[in-house]
């Protein structure tokens, strides 16, 4: 017998995930970052229908700007059998100039007035920056994101260097864009590749811009073919540095967001390495107001929004939070300087019942710790509390959740 595939009747209520941020209403905290996924009207249309709260259309430029792309542009950092742990691209900006993007903004706002429609821009000269802002505001965009940090190349006088790597250039350019914006909020997308991210954030704050997008991809060399010595992605044996995104860069982004949020009072759009609802919670806990996604969508498609929303809903229920906004900044009081850390005597404790006797903790401690774990005939290792300093290495090499704990010594 054939079983027809019917559209299921939903049996679980949808939790309200909406809140306001930057004066914009977001139906949930999940938006699409400026990337290939937002470069095409049909694709954004599909994403909105599937439940994404907003999109930042791929970085555009004024008409006549030369966009000279090179293919293939994608490569990946695969780790121990996991595909796309990191993703590299040597993409530049959209081949669509502002005229197309204006049209896309109009069409999207017309059909999806409740969604956040933003556009990302990049220019060199003051008048170009300003005309992009004016035209997008007129087209009805909700937000403008300014790419000051595309690692692969910039339009302007200093190619190869990112605008956001110069505090003074950041402040000057940010003033230009803010000057051109009447009501529309402007966010500056920055790079973590700076000596002091706080200085850059302060420059943006001084410029009067409304928010920061933290942060762009990480400059990387994705790999080398060890037989032909061609770097990845190989374009006839040649390559260049990529911008890396995806799970691999999440901890870098978390630090960037946290460091800005701890020091500068400015709204942050979090981006760079978030793949799941719990990543989004982490980004928000260190200060992001909303979270932008890109690589996970390029890997699995817009459908990941289902789990983002479902996972976030269950998390909010569990935590008894009324809205995703309640998460913002929750972890910030817990991030302190090294000097201010509590100093306690801790020791490793192995739960014998959970131990599977792989001896990975033993070998890690023997050759990378303090030779404080002893092998036993039973194979269940024994921690010597005299030699153990409580570094925690064993806990992290242990394959069993909860088997090794760091206990405060009495």
């Amino acid at each position: 017998m054939e079983y027809r595939q019917l559209k299921e009747i939903e049996i679980y209520p949808l939790r309200d995930l909406s809140y306001d941020f930057l004066g914009i209403h977001f139906e949930n905290p999940f938006i699409l970052a400026a990337a290939p996924s937002t470069d095409n009207l049909t694709m954004v249309h599909r994403a909105f229908e599937m439940g994404w709260a907003g999109a930042i259309l791929k970085t555009t430029s004024v008409e006549g700007t030369r966009v000279d792309l090179a293919y293939p542009m994608m490569s990946t950092f695969d780790h121990e059998g996991r595909k796309l742990f990191g993703m590299g691209n040597i993409d530049l900006i959209s081949e669509h100039h502002i005229d197309t993007v204006e049209y896309n903004v109009r069409m999207l706002k017309k059909e999806f007035p409740e969604k956040m429609v933003a556009a990302s821009i990049m220019a060199g000269r003051k008048e170009d920056w300003q005309s992009l802002v004016e035209r997008l505001e007129k087209a009805g965009a909700d937000l403008i994101e300014c790419s000051f940090s595309c690692p692969q190349g910039n339009i302007g006088e200093d190619p190869g260097k990112m605008l956001a790597q110069s505090v003074s250039a950041t402040e000057l350019t940010a003033r230009w864009v803010k000057e051109a914006a009447k009501k529309i909020p402007v966010s500056i997308k920055i790079t973590p590749h700076v000596t002091d991210i706080v200085e850059v954030a302060r420059a943006v704050k001084r410029s009067g811009c409304d928010a920061l997008t933290a942060s762009n991809s990480i400059q990387a060399l994705m790999g080398i073919d060890i037989r032909s010595f061609a770097p990845y992605p190989s374009l006839g044996g040649k390559s260049t540095y990529s911008g890396m995104t995806g799970p691999a860069i999440k901890p870098i982004t978390l630090r960037t967001i946290a460091e800005i949020a701890r020091n500068v009072d400015i709204p942050i759009l979090g981006t760079g390495g978030a793949s799941t609802w719990s990543d989004a919670v982490e980004f928000m806990a260190v200060g992001a107001g909303v979270v932008e996604f890109c690589t996970v969508v390029m890997h699995y498609g817009f459908r990941v929004i289902d789990d983002l929303k479902s996972g976030m809903s269950h998390y909010l229920d569990e935590m008894k939070f009324s809205s995703p906004a309640a998460i913002v900044g929750k972890a910030l009081p817990n991030i302190v300087m090294h000097d201010d850390l509590p100093r306690r005597t801790v020791r490793s404790h192995i739960n014998e019942k959970l131990c599977i006797a792989c001896d990975l903790c033993y070998i890690a401690c023997r050759d990378g710790g303090h030779m404080a774990i002893d092998q036993q005939p039973s194979r269940v290792p024994d921690v010597d509390r005299e030699r153990c300093v409580g570094c925690g290495l064993c806990q992290h090499v242990c394959p069993v959740d909860g088997c090794i704990e760091m206990q405060v010594a009495v």
């Binding site: 079983y3 299921e8 996972g311």
Partner: protein, 403 residues
């Protein structure tokens, strides 16, 4: 993997969105994963425990082309168990404005239909003389499915309809048919088929359903002979064999008139029965039961497979003259199929094999009366019955909406 347009989802009769629930387990949104499963399959926990994944989802897993298939059912069960332990997620209020529909039989098909009808806004009453669950409750051995595992589903479902612990006879059938807008029949196959050989009335000869039901109800106290012979070649006969072993029988022999190739069983179950020490003998036909008051053995005749094939495409076994022998046995279990038990169905047209005939949309010959589950096709798996119920509910909805 998270394949798109995944073959596993297509292969599941209830079309659970498998890539979606697996991705949710991966992100540690296990409750969300359970909700995805339960949105498609009313007997989620039960199917998670015993669905023969080797015939459905897992058999077509894309990953299997690369190395080995994903253990889909294990992940499914992990999710539904987790949700059960945490407490069922609250469901949304379904519309409550539509007509009444009656469901007869609270097995997988009946429950599947009732839940789907409730989602569509119908007021549903289910009639069953026994506690809800049908075959999974009454005759699937406890070692495969404990009652509490089924009850996790029935407990969840019971709030969506009225359960009437009443058997249905000819009068009540007419009464319900007249008082309800539509009716779904899913009474299953409750009557054991017998061999029709001499000696079947002797003490110690037990029809398989009676045996399995008794074993499930009194698994610790039930007595069984030392030497057990089971006649049959289906999954139910394997259940009986494994149960007999567990009840303490010294030897359990299963005899089947064709060869292993023709058996309609799940390979996993066959292996399990062999592992338990069940002896499986092929190409053997029962001739009569030997004994006076109590069965003492079964006279058998060897068969060979002829070149001719039957309608199922399997070679027809023919007896080999002069090959008789007797297998000693004090318990003989007859597991050669089941038929519909309900005599009150007289007015409903049947098809070959005694099954109820249904047209497109699960309609029987009686207007407004629909049927599904084992009684229309004898497909025999829980998930297929749930799918019948679900599809029939949509058909009933179409029928009533057009009325």
């Amino acid at each position: 993997m998270q394949c798109f347009d995944a073959p596993c989802t297509a292969a599941c009769p209830t079309h659970i969105d498998i890539p979606k629930f697996i991705s949710m387990i991966k992100s540690n949104n296990v409750i969300g994963a359970a909700e995805v499963v339960k949105t498609s399959n009313a007997l989620a926990n039960t199917c998670g425990k015993i669905c023969p994944e080797e015939v459905f989802c897992q058999s077509v897993c894309t990953r299997g082309k690369q190395d080995s298939p994903i253990w889909i059912r294990e992940l499914h069960f992990f999710a539904t168990q987790h949700e059960k332990e945490k407490g069922f997620s609250a469901t949304k209020a379904f519309p409550k404005s539509k007509q009444n529909v009656a469901v007869v039989g609270a097995g997988p098909a009946g429950l599947g239909c009732a839940f789907e009808l409730a989602k569509l806004g119908y007021q549903v009453e289910i009639y069953d003389g026994r506690k809800p669950g049908g075959v999974p409750r009454n005759s699937i051995p406890s070692f495969r499915l404990a009652v509490r595992e089924l009850e996790s589903d029935t407990k969840f479902l019971s709030r969506f309809f009225k359960l009437k612990t009443q058997s249905v006879d000819a009068n009540r059938f007419e009464q319900i048919r007249k008082s309800q807008e539509a009716m779904f029949l899913a009474v299953g196959l409750g009557q054991d088929r017998m061999l029709g050989v001499p000696g079947e009335k002797l003490k110690g000869v037990i029809p398989v359903l009676k045996f399995l039901e008794k074993a499930k109800a009194n698994s610790t106290s039930m007595k069984i002979g030392k030497r057990v012979v089971i006649v049959g070649g289906g999954n139910v006969s394997l259940d009986a064999a494994a149960t007999a072993k567990r009840l303490g029988a010294e030897s359990v022999t299963l005899i089947y008139r064709r060869s292993e190739k023709e058996m309609r069983v799940w390979k996993g179950e066959l292996e399990e029965a062999r592992k338990q020490g069940v002896e499986i003998r092929f190409l053997i036909n029962p001739v009569n039961i030997v004994g006076r008051i109590k069965a003492q053995g079964i006279r058998c005749r060897q068969t060979r497979l002829s070149r001719q094939k039957d309608k199922s495409g399997r070679q027809i076994p023919v007896e080999v003259a002069g090959s008789d022998f007797v297998l000693d046995a004090d318990t003989i279990i007859i597991a050669v199929g089941q038929t519909i038990e309900a005599e009150w169905l007289a007015g409903v047209e049947r098809q070959k094999g005694g099954y109820v005939k249904v047209g497109e949309g699960f309609q029987t010959s009686v207007p407004g009366v629909f049927a599904g589950g084992d009684m229309i096709a004898g497909e025999g798996t829980i998930v297929q019955s749930v799918a019948h119920g679900k599809q029939a509910a949509r058909a009933i909805h179409e029928y009533l909406s057009a009325k």
